[in-house]
Amino acid sequence: MIKKTTVIISLLLLVCGYLKADTFTKEDAARWQKEFDAAVKYGRQLWENSATFKLGTNQVACAQCHPNAANTHPETYPKFQKQLGRVVGLDEMVNWCIINPLEGKALALDSKEMVAILSYIHWERRGIKLAPGKH
């Protein structure tokens, strides 16, 4: 959360023409990494224990069909999803799986759970080149 004082100081600097590009310390980077890692960890929990977290209604877990989030192809999204007949993002496909194989309700796209699931999927796919639109 950006503190009010930071905003005010930034605005003052802007007004004075002294605003520099953002800068941050190693500690900042470490903290942000920690925040991301926590999202990945929560995503993994949702993935593995989907029923415990009530993602679905039938005991099925994401990890049953997608060990290590494989076969999710996050690097290829957004892409034309032939079954839906339009270009979609990965979050829509996550919800498709929650609604269908898991027989659950769609997550809000900005929910903590959706962000965690996307974080986990991308983390398992780290190092792979982006290939939006690829089939």
Binding site: N71, P101, R126
Partner: protein
């Protein structure tokens, strides 16, 4: 189950018959002495033994929700395979179930699975899977289906059924409860899992079982896990793979058929041909799809088409196996996916896909 077919069953079967072209199943034909091939070879037994087929259904993962509610999707996969296997012409000599009948080894799951399997019109034998085993170390499964490892002979072929999903005692005993142990083993990608193995007692039994056989006897081994090392992280793996292969090596015609991997795989190592079978429940990614670890899918394998999740049964299936000349042709019946036949090629001495071996398609590219 009564042999009378109720009207409802009949209607179900008719509907299934109409849908036959889109079903997942693997049929295996064991053929003996194709006449020409036998004639050309000298010193090889003549084709007195008949070809035959058997059906192979595997990895149903029947999963209890609560009480008498089970995951519909997995139920449907197994029901469909059984119904289709019953429609096979020519009739298979028997049916093998390749392991993982249940998801968490519960009595309710094994009972429900056994009930669905009881509609099979043929003699049915079972292989132990880890999902059947780790709740009570196979006790209830044994009560339903018999011994955990055994062998039998059929039309001149020696069949061996292994329990290849054992593991180290230290791992077995480290969990606070049987349920926790089962949950830990049920996660395919669980970093706290443990590698599959056959164990010393079973290795000794296998050695003795094979010792009495003539080396020209065709041998078909059924195991749940691959008796070759493909990817340890998902237990596409058996610890003693090399030792088992060494025991099988002296035989001229050996086939290993395994489940667990939920996908088409095949390989040839020396005289041993390997075929994996499909799951009726859901398909798994090929191990190369996991970017963070190295794996060794046999280069011979032409992967199946990528699954379309919008078709519930896509990339699931069963197989009928055709046994000829003591070698195997696996016919993969895959609803909503390309049916495939992987057949031993006498010329090249390895199993090959009848259609795609040299011309893979873009849909078979897994990443």
């Amino acid at each position: 189950m009564s042999r009378d077919i109720s009207r409802r069953k009949f209607l179900e079967r008719s509907a299934i018959g109409a849908a036959m072209a889109v079903l997942p199943l693997t049929l295996v034909k064991v053929a003996f002495g194709e006449k020409e091939a036998a004639g050309k070879k000298t010193g090889v037994e003549k084709s007195a033994k008949p070809d035959f087929t058997f059906a192979y259904i595997s990895d149903a993962h029947i999963q209890q929700i609560e009480g008498n509610k089970f995951v519909r999707n997995w139920d449907q996969g197994l029901k469909r395979a059984v119904a289709e296997a019953n429609l096979l012409v020519p009739k298979p000599d028997f049916v093998m179930f390749g392991g993982d009948l249940g998801q968490l080894g519960k009595k309710a799951e094994l009972d429900h699975g056994a009930e669905i399997m009881s509609a099979c019109k043929y003699k049915t034998r079972y292989v132990m899977g880890e999902h059947d085993y780790y709740l009570d170390m196979g006790a209830y499964w044994e009560k339903l289906f018999g011994r955990q490892y055994y062998s039998f002979d059929h039309k001149g072929v020696h069949f061996v059924v292994l329990n290849s999903v054992l593991t180290y005692d230290k791992w077995i005993n480290k969990w606070p409860s049987a349920e926790e142990r089962m949950n830990q083993m049920a996660g395919l990608d669980n970093p706290n899992g443990s590698p599959f193995m056959v164990g010393e007692a079973q290795m000794k039994w296998l050695r003795q079982d094979l010792a009495k056989l003539d080396k020209n006897t065709p041998v078909i081994v059924f195991s749940h896990s691959p008796l070759q090392k493909i990817y340890k992280g998902w237990n596409f793996w058996t610890e003693e793979a090399e030792q088992i292969q060494a025991l099988l090596k002296p035989f001229n015609k050996v086939n290993v058929i395994y489940g667990h991997v939920h996908q088409i795989q095949y390989n040839q190592i020396g005289t041993i041909s390997f075929n994996a079978v499909m799951a009726t429940a859901w398909p798994w990614p090929y191990p190369q799809s996991y970017a963070q670890a190295k794996s060794s899918l046999p280069v011979l394998t032409v992967p199946m088409n990528r699954a379309d999740p919008f078709f519930e049964r896509d990339a699931t299936g069963w197989q009928f196996i055709d046994v000829y000349s003591g070698k195997v042709a696996a016919n993969y019946i895959l609803p909503d996916n390309q049916n495939r036949t992987v057949r031993y090629n006498e010329k090249t001495g390895q199993p090959e896909d009848m259609k795609y071996q040299d011309k893979r398609t873009i849909a078979q590219d897994h990443y």
